[in-house]
Symmetry: C2
DNA sequence: TATTTATGTAAAGTGCGCTTTACGTAAAGG
DNA sequence: CCTTTACGTAAAGCGCACTTTACATAAATA
Protein backbone atom coordinates (compact mmCIF):
# COMPACT_ATOMS: atom_id res chain seq x y z
CA UNK A 1 0.00 0.00 0.00
CA UNK A 2 1.17 3.46 -0.87
CA UNK A 3 -0.14 6.62 0.74
CA UNK A 4 -0.09 10.41 0.52
CA UNK A 5 0.29 11.05 4.23
CA UNK A 6 3.60 12.96 4.04
CA UNK A 7 2.10 15.37 1.50
CA UNK A 8 -0.99 16.03 3.57
CA UNK A 9 1.00 16.23 6.79
CA UNK A 10 3.42 18.83 5.43
CA UNK A 11 0.53 20.77 3.93
CA UNK A 12 -0.78 21.16 7.47
CA UNK A 13 2.69 21.92 8.80
CA UNK A 14 2.71 19.00 11.22
CA UNK A 15 5.83 17.11 12.27
CA UNK A 16 5.60 13.32 12.50
CA UNK A 17 5.62 13.63 16.27
CA UNK A 18 2.81 16.19 16.29
CA UNK A 19 0.71 13.96 14.04
CA UNK A 20 1.44 10.93 16.20
CA UNK A 21 0.20 12.81 19.26
CA UNK A 22 -2.95 13.93 17.48
CA UNK A 23 -3.63 10.34 16.40
CA UNK A 24 -2.80 8.90 19.80
CA UNK A 25 -0.11 6.59 18.44
CA UNK A 26 3.67 6.45 18.71
CA UNK A 27 6.02 8.36 16.43
CA UNK A 28 7.33 5.01 15.21
CA UNK A 29 3.86 4.09 13.99
CA UNK A 30 3.60 7.27 11.92
CA UNK A 31 7.07 6.71 10.43
CA UNK A 32 6.32 3.08 9.57
CA UNK A 33 2.98 3.87 7.98
CA UNK A 34 4.36 6.78 5.94
CA UNK A 35 7.18 4.58 4.70
CA UNK A 36 4.77 1.78 3.84
CA UNK A 37 6.40 -0.65 6.24
CA UNK A 38 2.94 -1.77 7.28
CA UNK A 39 -0.69 -0.78 6.92
CA UNK A 40 -2.60 1.18 9.54
CA UNK A 41 -5.60 -0.47 11.13
CA UNK A 42 -8.95 0.59 9.70
CA UNK A 43 -9.88 2.80 12.68
CA UNK A 44 -6.51 4.53 12.44
CA UNK A 45 -6.89 5.06 8.69
CA UNK A 46 -10.33 6.61 9.25
CA UNK A 47 -8.98 8.97 11.89
CA UNK A 48 -6.06 9.99 9.66
CA UNK A 49 -8.49 10.77 6.82
CA UNK A 50 -10.64 12.75 9.25
CA UNK A 51 -7.70 14.85 10.41
CA UNK A 52 -6.73 15.69 6.85
CA UNK A 53 -10.35 16.32 5.92
CA UNK A 54 -10.31 13.79 3.12
CA UNK A 55 -11.38 10.22 2.33
CA UNK A 56 -9.54 6.98 3.02
CA UNK A 57 -9.47 6.29 -0.73
CA UNK A 58 -7.77 9.63 -1.36
CA UNK A 59 -4.98 8.81 1.11
CA UNK A 60 -4.33 5.10 0.61
CA UNK A 61 -3.82 3.10 -2.57
CA UNK A 62 -3.94 -0.61 -3.14
CA UNK A 63 -1.17 -2.17 -5.20
CA UNK A 64 -1.15 -5.51 -6.98
CA UNK A 65 0.72 -7.08 -4.07
CA UNK A 66 -2.13 -6.13 -1.72
CA UNK A 67 -4.72 -8.02 -3.73
CA UNK A 68 -2.52 -11.12 -3.76
CA UNK A 69 -1.82 -11.06 -0.03
CA UNK A 70 -5.45 -11.47 1.00
CA UNK B 1 -16.68 -0.27 14.72
CA UNK B 2 -20.04 -0.80 13.15
CA UNK B 3 -20.61 -1.49 9.47
CA UNK B 4 -23.27 -1.77 6.79
CA UNK B 5 -21.83 -4.85 5.10
CA UNK B 6 -24.89 -7.12 5.61
CA UNK B 7 -27.13 -4.52 3.99
CA UNK B 8 -24.89 -4.07 0.96
CA UNK B 9 -24.25 -7.78 0.71
CA UNK B 10 -27.94 -8.68 0.65
CA UNK B 11 -28.59 -5.88 -1.81
CA UNK B 12 -26.25 -7.68 -4.19
CA UNK B 13 -27.76 -11.05 -3.31
CA UNK B 14 -24.49 -12.52 -2.09
CA UNK B 15 -24.21 -15.16 0.61
CA UNK B 16 -21.43 -14.73 3.18
CA UNK B 17 -19.57 -17.57 1.51
CA UNK B 18 -19.87 -16.01 -1.94
CA UNK B 19 -18.58 -12.69 -0.60
CA UNK B 20 -15.73 -14.43 1.20
CA UNK B 21 -14.67 -16.08 -2.05
CA UNK B 22 -14.83 -12.80 -3.93
CA UNK B 23 -12.69 -11.15 -1.25
CA UNK B 24 -10.27 -14.03 -1.06
CA UNK B 25 -10.82 -14.57 2.66
CA UNK B 26 -12.47 -17.28 4.75
CA UNK B 27 -16.16 -17.36 5.57
CA UNK B 28 -15.22 -16.97 9.22
CA UNK B 29 -13.57 -13.66 8.42
CA UNK B 30 -16.72 -12.31 6.76
CA UNK B 31 -18.89 -13.44 9.66
CA UNK B 32 -16.57 -11.90 12.25
CA UNK B 33 -16.31 -8.59 10.42
CA UNK B 34 -20.07 -8.34 9.85
CA UNK B 35 -20.69 -9.04 13.52
CA UNK B 36 -18.10 -6.47 14.57
CA UNK B 37 -15.96 -9.05 16.32
CA UNK B 38 -12.92 -7.40 14.83
CA UNK B 39 -11.97 -4.82 12.23
CA UNK B 40 -10.88 -5.73 8.72
CA UNK B 41 -7.40 -4.71 7.66
CA UNK B 42 -7.23 -1.55 5.58
CA UNK B 43 -6.58 -3.38 2.29
CA UNK B 44 -9.54 -5.64 2.96
CA UNK B 45 -11.79 -2.68 3.82
CA UNK B 46 -10.79 -0.98 0.56
CA UNK B 47 -11.58 -4.10 -1.46
CA UNK B 48 -14.95 -4.50 0.26
CA UNK B 49 -15.84 -0.90 -0.56
CA UNK B 50 -14.72 -1.49 -4.15
CA UNK B 51 -16.96 -4.54 -4.51
CA UNK B 52 -19.97 -2.65 -3.21
CA UNK B 53 -19.10 0.39 -5.33
CA UNK B 54 -18.99 2.71 -2.36
CA UNK B 55 -16.51 4.41 -0.03
CA UNK B 56 -14.89 3.05 3.12
CA UNK B 57 -16.52 5.85 5.13
CA UNK B 58 -19.95 4.80 3.85
CA UNK B 59 -19.44 1.21 5.03
CA UNK B 60 -17.57 1.57 8.32
CA UNK B 61 -18.26 3.81 11.30
CA UNK B 62 -16.05 4.72 14.21
CA UNK B 63 -17.54 4.55 17.69
CA UNK B 64 -16.31 6.25 20.84
CA UNK B 65 -14.61 3.05 21.93
CA UNK B 66 -12.51 3.09 18.75
CA UNK B 67 -11.07 6.50 19.48
CA UNK B 68 -10.12 5.41 23.00
CA UNK B 69 -8.47 2.18 21.90
CA UNK B 70 -5.81 3.93 19.82
C1' DT C 1 30.52 24.75 19.25
C1' DA C 2 26.58 22.96 21.50
C1' DT C 3 21.82 22.22 21.37
C1' DT C 4 17.36 21.60 19.49
C1' DT C 5 14.20 19.85 15.92
C1' DA C 6 12.92 16.55 12.58
C1' DT C 7 13.62 12.28 10.63
C1' DG C 8 15.24 7.61 10.45
C1' DT C 9 16.71 2.52 11.81
C1' DA C 10 16.70 -1.57 14.92
C1' DA C 11 14.84 -4.88 18.00
C1' DA C 12 11.95 -7.17 21.36
C1' DG C 13 7.21 -7.71 23.29
C1' DT C 14 1.89 -7.74 23.16
C1' DG C 15 -2.56 -8.20 21.08
C1' DC C 16 -5.40 -8.80 17.18
C1' DG C 17 -6.58 -9.99 12.10
C1' DC C 18 -7.21 -14.00 9.66
C1' DT C 19 -6.84 -18.97 9.00
C1' DT C 20 -8.43 -23.78 9.46
C1' DT C 21 -11.24 -27.23 11.45
C1' DA C 22 -15.14 -28.79 13.61
C1' DC C 23 -19.71 -28.68 15.22
C1' DG C 24 -24.74 -26.68 15.71
C1' DT C 25 -29.18 -24.80 14.03
C1' DA C 26 -32.99 -23.46 11.01
C1' DA C 27 -35.33 -23.12 6.52
C1' DA C 28 -36.35 -24.86 1.92
C1' DG C 29 -36.98 -28.38 -1.51
C1' DG C 30 -36.07 -33.22 -3.47
C1' DC D 1 -37.42 -37.55 5.59
C1' DC D 2 -33.01 -36.15 3.87
C1' DT D 3 -30.03 -33.06 1.91
C1' DT D 4 -28.62 -28.61 0.82
C1' DT D 5 -28.06 -23.74 1.81
C1' DA D 6 -27.13 -20.11 4.85
C1' DC D 7 -25.74 -18.57 9.11
C1' DG D 8 -23.52 -19.00 13.56
C1' DT D 9 -20.04 -20.35 17.61
C1' DA D 10 -15.53 -22.14 19.43
C1' DA D 11 -10.69 -22.78 19.63
C1' DA D 12 -5.85 -23.03 18.34
C1' DG D 13 -2.06 -21.10 15.52
C1' DC D 14 0.53 -17.64 12.61
C1' DG D 15 1.98 -13.14 11.19
C1' DC D 16 1.52 -8.37 11.47
C1' DA D 17 0.05 -3.72 13.72
C1' DC D 18 1.67 -1.08 17.27
C1' DT D 19 4.46 -0.21 21.43
C1' DT D 20 8.71 1.17 23.91
C1' DT D 21 13.52 2.07 24.13
C1' DA D 22 17.74 3.25 22.28
C1' DC D 23 20.76 5.15 19.05
C1' DA D 24 22.08 7.91 14.58
C1' DT D 25 22.15 11.84 11.36
C1' DA D 26 21.43 16.42 9.32
C1' DA D 27 19.84 21.22 9.53
C1' DA D 28 18.99 25.35 12.13
C1' DT D 29 20.11 28.40 15.66
C1' DA D 30 21.87 30.32 20.01
Amino acid sequence: MKNKIPTYRKQKGYSQEKLATMLGVSRQTVISIEKGKYNPSLPLALIIAEIFETKVEELFFLEDSDYKKI
